[in-house]
Symmetry: C2
Subunit: 246 residues, 2 copies
Protein backbone atom coordinates (compact mmCIF):
# COMPACT_ATOMS: atom_id res chain seq x y z
CA UNK A 1 0.00 0.00 0.00
CA UNK A 2 1.24 3.45 -0.86
CA UNK A 3 2.43 5.47 2.08
CA UNK A 4 3.37 9.11 2.34
CA UNK A 5 6.57 9.13 4.37
CA UNK A 6 7.70 12.30 6.15
CA UNK A 7 11.31 12.40 7.34
CA UNK A 8 13.27 14.93 9.39
CA UNK A 9 16.87 15.17 8.25
CA UNK A 10 20.17 16.56 9.46
CA UNK A 11 23.12 17.17 7.20
CA UNK A 12 26.54 18.73 7.23
CA UNK A 13 26.36 20.55 3.90
CA UNK A 14 30.12 21.17 3.67
CA UNK A 15 30.84 18.78 0.81
CA UNK A 16 27.54 19.00 -1.06
CA UNK A 17 26.25 21.18 -3.87
CA UNK A 18 23.10 21.72 -1.86
CA UNK A 19 19.79 19.90 -1.59
CA UNK A 20 18.59 19.95 -5.16
CA UNK A 21 19.67 17.28 -7.62
CA UNK A 22 21.36 18.78 -10.65
CA UNK A 23 21.36 16.58 -13.72
CA UNK A 24 23.52 13.53 -13.11
CA UNK A 25 25.30 14.98 -10.11
CA UNK A 26 25.00 12.74 -7.08
CA UNK A 27 26.82 15.32 -5.02
CA UNK A 28 23.56 16.69 -3.65
CA UNK A 29 21.52 15.63 -0.64
CA UNK A 30 18.50 14.88 -2.82
CA UNK A 31 20.69 12.80 -5.14
CA UNK A 32 22.00 10.76 -2.19
CA UNK A 33 18.48 10.05 -0.95
CA UNK A 34 17.05 9.16 -4.34
CA UNK A 35 19.89 6.72 -5.08
CA UNK A 36 19.25 4.89 -1.79
CA UNK A 37 15.45 4.98 -2.14
CA UNK A 38 15.72 3.50 -5.62
CA UNK A 39 17.88 0.68 -4.27
CA UNK A 40 15.42 0.11 -1.45
CA UNK A 41 12.23 0.19 -3.56
CA UNK A 42 13.56 -1.33 -6.77
CA UNK A 43 12.39 1.62 -8.85
CA UNK A 44 13.01 5.38 -8.92
CA UNK A 45 11.41 7.37 -6.12
CA UNK A 46 11.43 11.13 -5.99
CA UNK A 47 11.85 12.96 -2.71
CA UNK A 48 10.58 16.45 -2.04
CA UNK A 49 12.09 18.74 0.60
CA UNK A 50 10.55 21.78 2.32
CA UNK A 51 12.90 23.86 0.19
CA UNK A 52 16.31 23.79 -1.40
CA UNK A 53 19.32 24.57 0.67
CA UNK A 54 22.28 26.03 -1.21
CA UNK A 55 25.72 24.50 -1.60
CA UNK A 56 27.48 24.36 1.77
CA UNK A 57 24.37 25.12 3.84
CA UNK A 58 23.62 22.72 6.70
CA UNK A 59 20.37 21.41 8.17
CA UNK A 60 19.50 20.44 11.73
CA UNK A 61 15.84 19.90 10.84
CA UNK A 62 15.13 19.77 7.12
CA UNK A 63 11.87 17.99 6.30
CA UNK A 64 11.20 15.92 3.21
CA UNK A 65 8.60 13.43 2.04
CA UNK A 66 8.21 10.70 -0.55
CA UNK A 67 5.54 8.23 -1.64
CA UNK A 68 6.49 4.61 -1.11
CA UNK A 69 4.64 1.39 -1.87
CA UNK A 70 6.21 -0.97 0.64
CA UNK A 71 5.43 -3.27 3.52
CA UNK A 72 8.45 -1.96 5.46
CA UNK A 73 7.70 -0.31 8.79
CA UNK A 74 8.68 3.32 9.39
CA UNK A 75 11.45 2.15 11.74
CA UNK A 76 12.80 -0.23 9.08
CA UNK A 77 12.84 2.53 6.47
CA UNK A 78 14.66 4.86 8.84
CA UNK A 79 17.26 2.20 9.67
CA UNK A 80 17.73 1.35 5.99
CA UNK A 81 18.31 4.97 5.06
CA UNK A 82 20.71 5.62 7.94
CA UNK A 83 22.62 2.47 7.12
CA UNK A 84 23.29 3.51 3.52
CA UNK A 85 23.51 7.29 3.91
CA UNK A 86 26.99 8.76 4.37
CA UNK A 87 27.85 9.83 7.92
CA UNK A 88 27.22 13.51 7.15
CA UNK A 89 23.51 12.92 6.44
CA UNK A 90 21.07 11.38 8.94
CA UNK A 91 17.35 10.72 9.23
CA UNK A 92 16.50 11.66 12.80
CA UNK A 93 12.73 11.16 12.65
CA UNK A 94 10.24 9.36 10.43
CA UNK A 95 6.45 9.21 10.36
CA UNK A 96 3.68 8.17 8.03
CA UNK A 97 1.48 11.16 7.15
CA UNK A 98 -1.70 11.84 5.26
CA UNK A 99 -1.54 11.80 1.47
CA UNK A 100 -2.35 15.49 1.54
CA UNK A 101 0.95 16.34 3.26
CA UNK A 102 3.52 18.04 1.01
CA UNK A 103 6.81 19.04 2.62
CA UNK A 104 7.06 22.30 0.68
CA UNK A 105 3.45 23.35 0.10
CA UNK A 106 2.22 22.41 3.57
CA UNK A 107 4.99 24.29 5.39
CA UNK A 108 3.73 27.30 7.34
CA UNK A 109 7.00 28.48 8.90
CA UNK A 110 10.73 27.88 8.75
CA UNK A 111 13.52 28.71 11.12
CA UNK A 112 17.08 29.34 10.00
CA UNK A 113 20.12 29.96 12.18
CA UNK A 114 23.25 31.82 11.18
CA UNK A 115 26.28 31.50 13.47
CA UNK A 116 29.05 34.10 13.58
CA UNK A 117 32.22 33.41 15.55
CA UNK A 118 33.29 36.83 16.80
CA UNK A 119 36.86 36.15 17.88
CA UNK A 120 40.44 36.12 16.74
CA UNK A 121 40.54 32.53 18.01
CA UNK A 122 38.83 29.91 15.82
CA UNK A 123 36.53 27.31 17.33
CA UNK A 124 38.42 24.32 15.97
CA UNK A 125 35.58 21.85 16.54
CA UNK A 126 32.71 23.98 15.19
CA UNK A 127 34.66 25.89 12.56
CA UNK A 128 32.77 24.40 9.62
CA UNK A 129 29.43 25.56 11.00
CA UNK A 130 30.22 29.22 11.57
CA UNK A 131 31.55 32.31 9.85
CA UNK A 132 34.39 34.05 11.66
CA UNK A 133 34.41 37.84 12.02
CA UNK A 134 37.23 39.50 13.94
CA UNK A 135 35.82 43.06 14.07
CA UNK A 136 34.13 44.31 17.17
CA UNK A 137 30.39 43.78 16.73
CA UNK A 138 27.66 45.84 18.40
CA UNK A 139 24.94 43.27 19.09
CA UNK A 140 22.51 45.88 20.45
CA UNK A 141 22.67 47.89 17.20
CA UNK A 142 21.89 44.74 15.22
CA UNK A 143 19.00 43.91 17.54
CA UNK A 144 17.60 47.38 17.02
CA UNK A 145 17.92 47.00 13.24
CA UNK A 146 16.27 43.59 13.31
CA UNK A 147 13.04 45.16 14.63
CA UNK A 148 12.51 46.71 11.21
CA UNK A 149 12.57 43.26 9.63
CA UNK A 150 9.70 41.58 11.42
CA UNK A 151 6.29 41.65 9.84
CA UNK A 152 5.18 41.46 6.23
CA UNK A 153 7.55 43.22 3.86
CA UNK A 154 8.84 43.16 0.32
CA UNK A 155 12.32 41.64 0.72
CA UNK A 156 13.36 42.19 -2.91
CA UNK A 157 16.48 44.10 -1.81
CA UNK A 158 17.63 41.04 0.16
CA UNK A 159 17.66 38.39 -2.55
CA UNK A 160 20.14 37.42 -5.26
CA UNK A 161 17.44 36.47 -7.73
CA UNK A 162 17.86 38.61 -10.83
CA UNK A 163 14.66 37.91 -12.70
CA UNK A 164 11.91 37.93 -10.18
CA UNK A 165 8.59 36.71 -11.46
CA UNK A 166 7.00 35.63 -8.23
CA UNK A 167 6.15 37.75 -5.24
CA UNK A 168 9.04 38.89 -3.07
CA UNK A 169 6.75 39.61 -0.15
CA UNK A 170 7.41 37.49 2.91
CA UNK A 171 6.53 37.64 6.60
CA UNK A 172 9.23 37.36 9.24
CA UNK A 173 7.75 36.38 12.58
CA UNK A 174 10.86 36.74 14.67
CA UNK A 175 14.53 37.65 14.46
CA UNK A 176 16.62 36.79 17.51
CA UNK A 177 20.23 37.87 17.86
CA UNK A 178 22.03 36.40 20.84
CA UNK A 179 25.59 36.59 22.08
CA UNK A 180 26.78 33.25 23.47
CA UNK A 181 30.37 33.65 24.63
CA UNK A 182 32.33 34.30 21.43
CA UNK A 183 29.46 33.37 19.13
CA UNK A 184 26.66 35.55 17.80
CA UNK A 185 23.61 33.50 16.85
CA UNK A 186 21.06 34.93 14.41
CA UNK A 187 17.74 33.07 14.36
CA UNK A 188 15.13 33.92 11.73
CA UNK A 189 11.61 32.52 11.68
CA UNK A 190 9.27 33.36 8.82
CA UNK A 191 6.66 31.99 6.46
CA UNK A 192 9.29 31.66 3.75
CA UNK A 193 12.61 33.05 2.62
CA UNK A 194 13.80 34.19 -0.80
CA UNK A 195 16.97 32.88 -2.40
CA UNK A 196 19.99 33.99 -0.31
CA UNK A 197 17.70 36.12 1.88
CA UNK A 198 18.98 34.91 5.27
CA UNK A 199 22.61 35.33 4.25
CA UNK A 200 22.08 38.82 2.82
CA UNK A 201 20.05 39.90 5.86
CA UNK A 202 22.85 38.64 8.11
CA UNK A 203 25.48 40.38 5.97
CA UNK A 204 23.50 43.62 6.24
CA UNK A 205 23.03 43.28 10.01
CA UNK A 206 26.77 42.64 10.39
CA UNK A 207 27.47 45.90 8.53
CA UNK A 208 25.35 47.61 11.16
CA UNK A 209 27.07 45.67 13.94
CA UNK A 210 30.45 46.84 12.69
CA UNK A 211 29.22 50.44 12.76
CA UNK A 212 29.43 50.90 8.99
CA UNK A 213 25.70 51.60 8.83
CA UNK A 214 22.95 52.75 11.13
CA UNK A 215 20.11 50.47 12.32
CA UNK A 216 17.52 52.75 10.71
CA UNK A 217 19.04 52.19 7.25
CA UNK A 218 17.53 48.69 7.15
CA UNK A 219 14.19 50.29 6.46
CA UNK A 220 15.52 52.42 3.61
CA UNK A 221 17.29 49.45 2.04
CA UNK A 222 14.08 47.45 2.21
CA UNK A 223 12.04 50.21 0.62
CA UNK A 224 14.58 50.72 -2.18
CA UNK A 225 14.01 47.14 -3.37
CA UNK A 226 17.57 47.26 -4.68
CA UNK A 227 19.99 44.42 -3.89
CA UNK A 228 22.95 46.79 -4.30
CA UNK A 229 21.91 48.75 -1.25
CA UNK A 230 22.00 45.74 1.04
CA UNK A 231 25.07 44.22 2.67
CA UNK A 232 27.21 41.35 1.38
CA UNK A 233 26.17 37.71 1.07
CA UNK A 234 27.85 35.96 4.00
CA UNK A 235 29.30 32.43 3.49
CA UNK A 236 27.03 29.39 3.33
CA UNK A 237 28.88 27.49 6.08
CA UNK A 238 27.38 29.60 8.90
CA UNK A 239 23.81 28.79 7.87
CA UNK A 240 21.57 25.93 8.99
CA UNK A 241 17.90 25.16 8.41
CA UNK A 242 16.76 24.41 11.96
CA UNK A 243 13.07 23.65 11.78
CA UNK A 244 10.08 23.51 9.46
CA UNK A 245 6.61 23.91 10.92
CA UNK A 246 3.38 22.52 9.46
Amino acid sequence: MEKNVKITIQYDGSRYQGWQKLGDSTNTIQGKFEAILEKMAGHPISIQASGRTDAGVHAHGQVANFILDSSMSMEEIKDYLNQYLPDDIAVIKIEEVSRRFHSRLSAIAKTYRYTVRNSRIPDVFQRKYMFRVENKIDVKAMQKASEYLTGEHDFKAFTSLKKIKKSTIRTIYEVKIEQQQDDIIFTYTGNGFLHHMVRILTGTLLEIGKGNRQPEEISEIMMSGNRENAGPLVPAQGLSLMEVNY
Copy 2:
Protein backbone atom coordinates in the same frame (compact mmCIF):
# COMPACT_ATOMS: atom_id res chain seq x y z
CA MET B 1 64.92 38.79 27.33
CA GLU B 2 64.18 35.08 27.28
CA LYS B 3 60.68 34.18 28.29
CA ASN B 4 59.14 30.80 29.04
CA VAL B 5 55.80 30.85 27.23
CA LYS B 6 53.02 28.46 28.26
CA ILE B 7 50.16 28.00 25.82
CA THR B 8 46.89 26.10 26.01
CA ILE B 9 45.92 24.63 22.67
CA GLN B 10 42.90 23.11 20.97
CA TYR B 11 43.10 21.01 17.85
CA ASP B 12 40.96 18.84 15.65
CA GLY B 13 43.39 15.97 15.13
CA SER B 14 41.49 14.46 12.17
CA ARG B 15 44.03 15.34 9.50
CA TYR B 16 47.24 15.16 11.55
CA GLN B 17 49.72 12.42 12.31
CA GLY B 18 49.57 13.42 15.94
CA TRP B 19 51.47 15.92 18.06
CA GLN B 20 55.02 14.76 17.61
CA LYS B 21 57.10 15.93 14.70
CA LEU B 22 58.38 13.04 12.64
CA GLY B 23 61.43 13.81 10.51
CA ASP B 24 60.53 16.30 7.81
CA SER B 25 56.80 15.77 8.14
CA THR B 26 54.95 18.99 8.74
CA ASN B 27 51.72 17.08 9.09
CA THR B 28 51.96 17.12 12.86
CA ILE B 29 50.76 19.70 15.37
CA GLN B 30 54.29 20.21 16.69
CA GLY B 31 55.55 20.66 13.13
CA LYS B 32 52.90 23.33 12.44
CA PHE B 33 53.85 25.25 15.59
CA GLU B 34 57.61 25.05 15.04
CA ALA B 35 57.29 26.29 11.45
CA ILE B 36 55.33 29.36 12.61
CA LEU B 37 57.54 30.00 15.65
CA GLU B 38 60.62 29.93 13.41
CA LYS B 39 59.05 32.47 11.08
CA MET B 40 58.11 34.64 14.06
CA ALA B 41 61.47 34.47 15.85
CA GLY B 42 63.76 34.28 12.84
CA HIS B 43 65.44 31.11 14.11
CA PRO B 44 64.33 27.57 15.05
CA ILE B 45 62.38 27.24 18.28
CA SER B 46 61.40 23.93 19.78
CA ILE B 47 58.07 23.47 21.47
CA GLN B 48 57.36 20.90 24.16
CA ALA B 49 53.87 19.55 24.88
CA SER B 50 52.56 17.85 28.03
CA GLY B 51 52.66 14.63 26.03
CA ARG B 52 52.21 13.31 22.52
CA THR B 53 48.78 12.73 21.19
CA ASP B 54 48.47 10.02 18.54
CA ALA B 55 47.36 10.44 14.94
CA GLY B 56 43.71 11.47 14.82
CA VAL B 57 43.43 12.32 18.53
CA HIS B 58 41.99 15.73 19.40
CA ALA B 59 42.74 18.23 22.16
CA HIS B 60 40.47 20.68 23.97
CA GLY B 61 43.21 21.63 26.42
CA GLN B 62 46.68 20.47 25.43
CA VAL B 63 49.46 22.48 27.11
CA ALA B 64 52.84 23.28 25.58
CA ASN B 65 55.71 25.63 26.28
CA PHE B 66 58.67 27.16 24.48
CA ILE B 67 61.50 29.54 25.28
CA LEU B 68 61.40 32.77 23.30
CA ASP B 69 63.71 35.78 23.26
CA SER B 70 61.38 38.49 22.09
CA SER B 71 59.93 41.84 23.02
CA MET B 72 56.48 40.75 21.84
CA SER B 73 53.73 40.73 24.45
CA MET B 74 51.90 37.53 25.28
CA GLU B 75 48.79 38.84 23.51
CA GLU B 76 50.83 39.63 20.40
CA ILE B 77 52.34 36.14 20.37
CA LYS B 78 48.91 34.55 20.73
CA ASP B 79 47.51 36.67 17.90
CA TYR B 80 50.49 35.89 15.68
CA LEU B 81 50.12 32.16 16.22
CA ASN B 82 46.36 32.15 15.66
CA GLN B 83 46.78 34.22 12.53
CA TYR B 84 49.16 31.74 10.91
CA LEU B 85 47.87 28.48 12.35
CA PRO B 86 45.36 26.54 10.24
CA ASP B 87 41.73 26.75 11.40
CA ASP B 88 41.87 23.31 13.04
CA ILE B 89 44.50 24.42 15.58
CA ALA B 90 44.03 27.32 18.01
CA VAL B 91 45.86 28.87 20.93
CA ILE B 92 43.14 29.61 23.46
CA LYS B 93 45.33 30.85 26.33
CA ILE B 94 48.87 32.17 26.79
CA GLU B 95 50.92 33.13 29.82
CA GLU B 96 54.50 33.78 30.75
CA VAL B 97 55.66 31.28 33.35
CA SER B 98 58.72 30.65 35.47
CA ARG B 99 61.78 29.20 33.76
CA ARG B 100 61.33 26.08 35.90
CA PHE B 101 57.99 25.26 34.22
CA HIS B 102 58.13 22.28 31.84
CA SER B 103 54.86 21.26 30.16
CA ARG B 104 55.62 17.55 30.44
CA LEU B 105 57.70 17.21 33.59
CA SER B 106 55.69 19.68 35.67
CA ALA B 107 52.32 18.05 34.86
CA ILE B 108 50.67 16.41 37.84
CA ALA B 109 47.42 15.22 36.25
CA LYS B 110 45.77 14.86 32.88
CA THR B 111 42.18 14.41 31.86
CA TYR B 112 41.13 12.60 28.70
CA ARG B 113 37.62 12.21 27.33
CA TYR B 114 36.41 9.46 25.06
CA THR B 115 33.03 9.93 23.35
CA VAL B 116 30.91 7.05 22.13
CA ARG B 117 27.82 7.68 20.05
CA ASN B 118 25.43 4.89 21.00
CA SER B 119 22.86 5.10 18.25
CA ARG B 120 21.98 3.87 14.79
CA ILE B 121 21.68 7.54 13.86
CA PRO B 122 24.97 9.40 13.35
CA ASP B 123 25.51 12.85 14.85
CA VAL B 124 26.35 14.56 11.57
CA PHE B 125 27.90 17.62 13.20
CA GLN B 126 30.02 15.86 15.84
CA ARG B 127 30.74 12.68 13.90
CA LYS B 128 34.48 13.31 13.68
CA TYR B 129 34.78 13.55 17.46
CA MET B 130 33.07 10.33 18.43
CA PHE B 131 33.11 6.60 17.84
CA ARG B 132 29.75 5.10 16.91
CA VAL B 133 28.58 1.86 18.51
CA GLU B 134 25.16 0.49 17.61
CA ASN B 135 24.97 -2.33 20.20
CA LYS B 136 22.99 -1.84 23.35
CA ILE B 137 25.41 -0.69 26.06
CA ASP B 138 24.96 -1.26 29.79
CA VAL B 139 26.39 1.90 31.33
CA LYS B 140 25.93 0.65 34.90
CA ALA B 141 28.08 -2.44 34.22
CA MET B 142 30.83 -0.22 32.85
CA GLN B 143 30.58 2.09 35.85
CA LYS B 144 30.96 -0.91 38.14
CA ALA B 145 33.99 -2.11 36.17
CA SER B 146 35.57 1.34 36.26
CA GLU B 147 35.76 1.18 40.05
CA TYR B 148 38.52 -1.41 39.71
CA LEU B 149 40.57 1.05 37.67
CA THR B 150 40.95 3.90 40.12
CA GLY B 151 44.01 3.98 42.33
CA GLU B 152 47.62 2.99 41.69
CA HIS B 153 47.93 -0.04 39.42
CA ASP B 154 50.22 -1.65 36.88
CA PHE B 155 48.45 -0.91 33.58
CA LYS B 156 50.78 -3.05 31.46
CA ALA B 157 47.82 -5.04 30.07
CA PHE B 158 46.32 -1.79 28.76
CA THR B 159 49.14 -0.48 26.60
CA SER B 160 50.30 -1.24 23.06
CA LEU B 161 53.97 -0.72 23.92
CA LYS B 162 55.83 -3.93 23.13
CA LYS B 163 59.20 -3.32 24.72
CA ILE B 164 58.53 -1.73 28.03
CA LYS B 165 61.57 -0.40 29.79
CA LYS B 166 59.95 2.18 32.01
CA SER B 167 57.44 1.62 34.76
CA THR B 168 53.90 0.81 33.69
CA ILE B 169 52.49 1.82 37.06
CA ARG B 170 50.12 4.77 36.96
CA THR B 171 47.50 6.25 39.24
CA ILE B 172 43.98 6.90 37.97
CA TYR B 173 42.20 9.42 40.20
CA GLU B 174 38.78 9.21 38.61
CA VAL B 175 36.86 7.49 35.85
CA LYS B 176 33.46 8.98 35.02
CA ILE B 177 31.07 7.32 32.61
CA GLU B 178 28.01 9.39 31.77
CA GLN B 179 25.11 8.89 29.42
CA GLN B 180 24.11 12.15 27.71
CA GLN B 181 21.18 11.41 25.38
CA ASP B 182 22.69 9.15 22.71
CA ASP B 183 26.28 9.75 23.77
CA ILE B 184 28.31 7.92 26.39
CA ILE B 185 31.14 10.06 27.74
CA PHE B 186 34.16 8.42 29.39
CA THR B 187 36.33 10.82 31.39
CA TYR B 188 39.66 9.64 32.80
CA THR B 189 41.83 11.66 35.17
CA GLY B 190 45.21 10.31 36.22
CA ASN B 191 48.82 11.21 36.89
CA GLY B 192 49.77 9.88 33.48
CA PHE B 193 48.67 7.45 30.80
CA LEU B 194 50.64 4.82 28.87
CA HIS B 195 50.63 4.64 25.09
CA HIS B 196 47.07 3.79 23.88
CA MET B 197 45.97 3.26 27.49
CA VAL B 198 42.78 5.36 27.37
CA ARG B 199 41.66 3.78 24.11
CA ILE B 200 42.31 0.20 25.31
CA LEU B 201 40.60 0.89 28.65
CA THR B 202 37.59 2.24 26.77
CA GLY B 203 37.61 -0.73 24.39
CA THR B 204 37.66 -3.07 27.39
CA LEU B 205 34.87 -1.20 29.19
CA LEU B 206 32.77 -1.33 26.02
CA GLU B 207 33.19 -5.13 25.93
CA ILE B 208 31.73 -5.15 29.43
CA GLY B 209 29.00 -2.74 28.40
CA LYS B 210 28.02 -5.02 25.54
CA GLY B 211 27.79 -7.93 27.99
CA ASN B 212 30.68 -9.85 26.42
CA ARG B 213 32.59 -9.69 29.72
CA GLN B 214 31.83 -9.21 33.37
CA PRO B 215 32.82 -6.08 35.31
CA GLU B 216 34.99 -8.13 37.69
CA GLU B 217 37.18 -9.33 34.81
CA ILE B 218 38.82 -5.89 34.66
CA SER B 219 40.77 -6.83 37.75
CA GLU B 220 41.96 -10.15 36.29
CA ILE B 221 43.01 -8.49 33.03
CA MET B 222 44.98 -5.92 34.98
CA MET B 223 46.73 -8.54 37.09
CA SER B 224 47.62 -10.65 34.05
CA GLY B 225 49.71 -7.80 32.64
CA ASN B 226 48.90 -9.22 29.22
CA ARG B 227 47.66 -6.93 26.44
CA GLU B 228 45.94 -9.86 24.75
CA ASN B 229 43.51 -10.20 27.61
CA ALA B 230 42.26 -6.63 27.33
CA GLY B 231 39.67 -5.34 24.86
CA PRO B 232 40.29 -3.77 21.47
CA LEU B 233 41.90 -0.42 20.77
CA VAL B 234 39.02 1.92 19.92
CA PRO B 235 39.50 4.54 17.16
CA ALA B 236 41.49 7.71 17.77
CA GLN B 237 38.71 10.04 16.64
CA GLY B 238 36.67 9.61 19.86
CA LEU B 239 39.55 10.74 22.07
CA SER B 240 40.42 14.24 23.26
CA LEU B 241 42.97 15.53 25.76
CA MET B 242 40.79 17.84 27.85
CA GLU B 243 43.02 19.29 30.54
CA VAL B 244 46.51 19.19 32.00
CA ASN B 245 47.00 20.17 35.62
CA TYR B 246 50.19 21.58 37.16
